[in-house]
Amino acid sequence: MVSTRQSSDALLDRIGLHPNTLVELYRYMLLSRALDVRAWALSRQGRARFVITSRGHEAAQIGLAFALDRGRDWICPYYRDMALVLGIGMTAREIMLTIFAKATDLCSGGRQLPMHFSHPRWRIISGSSVVSTQILHAVGLALSAKLSGEDVVAVTCFGDGGSSKGDFHEGLNFAAVHRLPVIFFCENNGYAISVPQHKQMAIRDVASRAAGYGMPGVVVDGGDPIAVYQAVREARNRALAGDGPTLIEAKVARFTAHSSDDDDRLYRPREEVEAALANDPIPAFARRLKDLGFLDETTDRDLQASVVAEVDEAVAFAEAAPEPEVSDLLTHVFAEEGESP
């Protein structure tokens, strides 16, 4: 297991990200946060039925997104990956359409709960709500990439809770045996709803499981998008070189309750939440960019305003979008005549 908890500033040069790209990363984090905050508000107002946030996970997810070949690498996300899918290419409008379950919701046409992402253009594969099932799909997609020779990888994300499932084990093992180009990305926020990590596993790092499959396991600070970016780049290069899968564990914090249906005051000490909020990766990244001279206050304010405007527009657009027709209820159970798989 390799620890990447180190100052990533020193690495900035080496990894070769353009300052503009770093600002872009920052903007995606802001956008995700703004969408998240708005979605939560909509749910509190009764305008959205159900919401799950990415709050606290954004840095990890955006670092991940930027390390991928967007639109070519296969993505099997989970419900907490809104920042990731934005970073890959989904738009604020598309997010709002799925939150409002509109007919033009590209994820599912209004069939799934919000945050069950899917996108034809971005190779984002529809997942269920059943934890960790998507891990195996990523392994299968990696197998298809290996067979076809396409130089892409598959990435799948899941939580600390998801690492307790049988599918996690079967997936990592299968991928290791066949040295498949897949990245297993665990977003460890220390909770499966109310169950804290020590009641889920008797180990400190999920990444320590990697050795038992014969693949590298990497722990990375999920509050540091650059560190995540770098860890994923390495894993991706290994995968493309035919050296097989990697398990990356990003240590993150969940800022909100599990979902809009949850009340984490029932089980989580307030001080813990406050400490996490005090370590919010987004302002921390802004400070870093400013220290490095890549971002000034005016640009920052403009960015913050622009994402809010983008969210406003997306909400208005999506609320006005048409509801699904009842006649749509039974479409796509099977392929229609002549439809190709």
Binding site: S194, L266, Y267
Partner: protein
């Protein structure tokens, strides 16, 4: 007597059985500190301690498999599957193991355990927080399947399930949790597994149903009563073992049957009920056996409009009643 909803009734049954029998333990995701995502085990951790109220890792197969072992070891585990939709990873442990332990060991070992799980749609849970799963398990010999519709039944049947020597799948329709309220006895009582109940007597037509659809059926029955159609509503309560005598008796009285379930039509448990009647009460039938059920889509969609279109409901049942009554 106290006014309770289904959730409170379930909670009270757990509480009272844990107080009555030290061997009763709970295990599941979030059942401890949080008291369950629906709060069915609220306060039980505080009352019975961490040894008896166990928050598990996110591992459905382990929840059931461990419950099997603990039941053989002398305990009476009540395992919670957080949503019925998440029971499939434990399918193997339920079907291959719990349901067969007694048969395959020729009676040496048995699994006195209960699997509680909230099921059903109508709460905007989308494709994976809405499923009905009863047909699959009612086809499995060796496990009992219970699906109460009311608080009184939920409590009395859950107590029977916990005291039963064999595995019981206990299905709690999550739409009934807070919606359905009634007076529930304060003293200890049980309701036997395998017995249906007539919720509303009627001479013209029998509705056979269970769970949330009992309430929709009663509404439909009320609606047609205005036109002099007297519908008998039979709440099956337990699907396995099924109360065949109660079914046949009612059908022999009314000669017409509508079977109602929320689960999708094809291969749903209504087929079994229809087959029994078509075989054993054929002569008494005065019309086709009708089924009202969800269409053959994977589950109830999230969007309100689609969910409503998907779900069987009083108006749809009423339509079937009128059609059959006129036959």
């Amino acid at each position: 007597m106290s006014m309770k909803n289904v959730l409170q009734a379930v909670h009270d049954a757990l509480d009272e059985e844990m107080a009555r029998d030290e061997r009763v333990i709970l295990l599941g995701q979030d059942v401890g500190v949080r008291g369950g995502v629906f709060r069915a085990s609220d306060g039980l951790l505080a009352r019975y301690g961490e040894r008896r109220v166990i928050d598990t890792p996110l591992s459905e197969s382990a929840i059931i498999g461990v419950a099997i072992g603990a039941s053989i070891g002398g305990y009476r585990p009540v395992a919670e599957i957080q949503f019925a939709d998440f029971i499939w990873p434990a399918m193997d442990q339920i079907v291959s193991e719990a349901a067969r332990m007694r048969y395959r060991s020729h009676g040496t070992w048995g699994c006195p355990l209960v699997i509680r799980t909230p099921y059903g749609a109508g709460i905007h849970g989308g494709l994976y927080h809405s499923q009905s799963i009863e047909a699959t398990f009612a086809h499995v010999p060796g496990i009992k399947v219970v699906a109460p519709a009311t608080p009184r039944d939920a409590k009395g049947l859950l107590k029977s399930a916990i005291r039963d020597p064999d595995p019981v799948l206990f299905l709690e329709h999550k739409r009934t949790y807070r919606l359905i309220r009634e007076e529930v006895p304060d003293e200890d009582y049980t309701i036997p597994l395998g017995k249906a109940i007539v919720r509303r007597p009627g001479r013209d037509l029998t509705i056979l149903t269970y769970g949330m659809m009992v309430h929709e059926s009663l509404k439909a029955a009320e609606a047609v009563a205005a036109d002099g159609i007297e519908v008998e509503v039979v709440d099956l309560r337990t699907l396995s073992p099924l109360d065949k005598p109660a079914i046949l008796e009612s059908v022999e009285r009314t000669h017409k049957v509508v079977i109602v379930h929320e689960d999708s039509l094809t291969g749903g448990f209504g087929g079994e009920i229809a087959a029994i009647i078509a075989s054993e009460a054929f002569d008494t039938l005065d019309g086709p056996i009708m089924r009202v059920a969800a269409p053959d889509a994977p589950a109830a969609p999230f969007n309100d409009r689609l969910e409503e279109a998907y779900l069987p409901s009083a108006p749809k049942i009423e339509q079937a009643i009128r059609q059959l009554a006129a036959y």
